[in-house]
């Protein structure tokens, strides 16, 4: 495994199943991530990330899927889908720790360009996911005026 460039961890008072659903259900992802994650989440299947009804911003493949514990996906900007140098890899690990869930997101194989666009987005996505699962609400404008969503 390459050395990860980013490792993000959040602890959420919820269950692994709910975290898995929140990462893989198109409607739930739209609530806290603005864009939807769409796939059948079987190994080898394509997945996409984008606004509902619009062309996706991010596309990739499901590399590993072990619900509700581990999900590994490849990520490419939709416009660079066939350029292997722009392909990165995101791993989600979901661990039950007592009444909490530890969600670890690891992003590897990012290029400098990918790095610049992604590093602001993940903390907002993960804290909004935590808020949604713990309170049922989301933060308005989670990415603020300066931060960007990872997809851009």
């Amino acid at each position: 495994m390459d050395k990860p460039q980013f490792v993000y961890v959040t602890y959420i008072l919820t269950t692994p199943d709910k975290v898995w659903t929140a990462l893989t259900d198109a409607e739930v992802t739209a609530k806290y991530w603005q864009r939807s994650n769409v796939s059948d989440w079987k190994v080898g299947s394509p997945w996409s990330h984008g606004f509902a009804g619009e062309a996706p911003d991010v596309v990739g493949e499901v590399l590993e899927a072990d619900p509700p514990h581990r999900l590994v996906t490849s990520w490419s900007p939709a416009s660079k889908a066939n350029d292997p140098t722009r392909r990165s890899r995101v791993t989600y690990e979901i661990e039950q720790l007592g009444e909490k869930v530890r969600l670890t997101v690891t992003h590897t194989e990012l290029t400098e360009e990918g790095l610049a666009s992604i590093s602001h987005g993940w903390p907002a996505v993960l804290s909004n996911l935590k808020t949604l699962l713990e309170t049922g609400r989301t933060i308005p404008d989670p990415f603020g005026s300066e931060a960007k969503a990872p997809a851009r």
Partner: protein, 105 residues
Amino acid sequence: MDLVFKALADISRRRLLDSLHATPGQTLGALTEGQEMTRQAVSQHLALLEAANLVTTVRRGREKLHYLNPVPIHALQTRWIAKFERPRLDALAALKAKLEGDDDG
């Protein structure tokens, strides 16, 4: 949240976070090189940062790599900073409504 504030309330720990921000994935040895502290002091500070979830570690072979985890800082920002900006924005909106005469008063 208490742990996050406590962890941030120390210049040595903030310097360690700065170092991890600049170079993610450092070992304890690499982190110690850049600091005017003993390896043991750095290790203790890292333990506190890890307890606050500001630092997370990944094992790679025999190495333990340290990463800055910005998620709690983001939570702190939305909960404690954005929240306090809100009344000011509301006050401006009320002032605008009053000056433009579009309220009932």
